[in-house]
């Protein structure tokens, strides 16, 4: 896959080539009923990763999604050794794929300002997501992809 110059932070999906942000961009296309082909076919581990995200999204309870979309992170769930957003794909599934449009609850801005660990993870996912969206639009000519 084409890679971009990322900030030197821990990759959220260290086992996969495909990062969480990139995977979310492909899933968003799928949810729109379209198919976006990557520049190179996905590796088996990347397909498994995508499949896991699909099933997490399908099985996500409404109440769980609502909790993830709250404007603050649950108390005592973020520590410097285990930041709340580290490997928390559900948070990004909820904020990127479930919270449709710009009208839903805002992300936990205060927490992101307070917690550098979470902020860098968030930044990385958003960068990957945005650049992959751009790449898909450019290479697959998918129109109306982003709202």
């Amino acid at each position: 896959m084409k890679t971009h110059r990322f900030l030197p932070v821990k990759k959220i999906t260290s086992m996969h080539e495909l990062t969480l942000g990139q995977a979310l961009a492909y899933l968003e296309i799928e949810l729109m009923g379209r198919k976006a082909q990557p520049a190179e076919p996905f590796a088996p581990s990347e397909n498994i990763f995508l499949q896991n995200l699909r099933s997490r999204l399908q099985n996500m309870q409404h109440s769980h999604a609502e909790l993830l979309l709250s404007t603050d992170v649950p108390k005592h769930e973020c520590h410097s050794a285990t930041p709340y957003l580290a490997d928390n794909s559900d948070f990004f599934l909820a904020h990127i794929l479930i919270r449709k449009g710009n009208s839903g609850p805002e992300p936990p801005f205060k927490h992101l300002n307070d917690c550098f660990n979470c902020f860098e993870i968030y930044c990385q996912v958003m960068q990957d997501y945005y650049h992959t969206c751009q790449e898909i639009i450019t290479t697959n000519r998918v129109r109306g992809f982003q709202s």
Binding site: L7, R99, G101, P107, N113, D114, F119, M126, Q127
Partner: protein, 214 residues
Amino acid sequence: MDQFVTPLTLENLLHHCTDRSSPHWEHSWQEFIGRYKKAIYNQVVSYCSSWRLPRLKFQFSEVVDDIVNDVVYYLCRDDFKTLKSYREHDNEKRFLAWLASICNRRSGSYLRRFFIETLSDKNIDDLHDSIAGLDFDMRQELYETVVANLRLSSGKKKQHKERDVHIFMLSLWSELSPTHIPSLPTMPPLSSGAIYRIIERLRESLKKNKKYFF
């Protein structure tokens, strides 16, 4: 009067350096500077080299000199409080490590201030490389300093203060420009013009208030 024999042991050196009434005070400081100036200087240069700020490369030697002076001032201030706090008088290696940690702290503090000054009059895009070149701890300290200053600058009761600070940090830290940020699905409905205005407003208030921060 005690005989002044050089080189002094570390214990004697620190003892005389921290006692202004000692007859050897001045000589001890000359010896201190002779012994440790190079170590202090090298440590500061090494720390500053990891910051690739656009303005820094043009003022590098002045900045290093300022920090070296600041380190010596820090050791001496409040009746040598910092130097007196060092306890392991029999271990030269540990003393050098302790001195290096002070150099790093003072350099970090100076450079974060320098960064905020640069931030208030340089384009944010020019600063991405400087941030990406820093190690994790330096980035974290810088992030926390900038956020704290932005919060102070935006006043107490500003509506959307946390959102605006986040937008500023996102555009500073990531490669997402103000034109990209409105397309992020997590963002509230704001135009790129509004994002530009938020960033400029915060930059202006940083500039206006920077004298209060450090």
